[in-house]
Symmetry: C2
Subunit: 188 residues, 2 copies
Amino acid sequence: MPPTHPNSRFFTFVAGETGPWRMVESRAIRGQALPPAPRLDLVNSALPALPPQAQWMLHGCVSHERYVTRAEKTALAAVQPPLGRAEATCAAMIPLTKNAAWWHLAQDERREILEARSSHIAIGMQYLPASARRLHHCRDWGEPFDFITWFEYAPADAPRFEALVQALRMTEEWQYVERETDIRLVRD
Amino acid sequence: MPPTHPNSRFFTFVAGETGPWRMVESRAIRGQALPPAPRLDLVNSALPALPPQAQWMLHGCVSHERYVTRAEKTALAAVQPPLGRAEATCAAMIPLTKNAAWWHLAQDERREILEARSSHIAIGMQYLPASARRLHHCRDWGEPFDFITWFEYAPADAPRFEALVQALRMTEEWQYVERETDIRLVRD
């Protein structure tokens, strides 16, 4: 069951037989995998039940930013591309869960690890404007993952995108990740 | 419709004919009021539908803290009382919505307004251990309010509790509040 009231910030990722995105890989980075499916549909609402023939679905909500400062927000806004660019025919859907130790930290401790010690925002900036990104929050819906990040990039930028996700996975912040799946897709 | 999966962090506030709390006042501080009802039940799950005879319900989720630093978290933990104290027979349920300008601010700007300029955490500390408090997040469920704060206090501490809410409503942070209702209850 999705949230209480309709909201344009709600999304459902539906894996099954239909949708514009063909799933080329579903790989468990840490923890239990998500089963691969032929295709993925990204629906801009919180579907209350799994559509017929679908294999699984995950929900998420676009929310306000939890960590970026005004200076970072302004810098990001100047270079981040929109989703839906014609040339960005590759996508990555990365559902991720952090452990209880992370969620028990205070705000300043989480910010310290995320940026001062892991350069999460700074690393992301290095790979802009190649990859478009949208973060979906799921933890407070009781979903199996805390976040789903959705990226779109052109095939020529795939090596750079690989370098981005590898760089993030080497950080201290990622030591708090207890489950992560990396799903790659192509729009055809 | 409440969120996707059961979770012990989910709550439903049900106003109607039943429940341990008698509603003594429902007062709109800003924006549209919530209708008064004889009683309130606080259910520790996200009810999918309004129970028979109930007048309205609101959902919320206990989540990680968005603003407190480690020093503040430690100081609060040392003095904040639990809910359910026998002597705390008074309660306040305060649903509140902030405006779009607030949600467009970056994290450092919101923290600056909330604490450096409005002393939200410091003001709250002055009224501990008299009032127990639990914050419920609702914004990302598409609910009519962004937050519901629930307080419990003894009748003798009612004047101090009034001073607390009045002090908070005078702050710069409260200029971003576009809807607020103040519901007072007694357990009998």
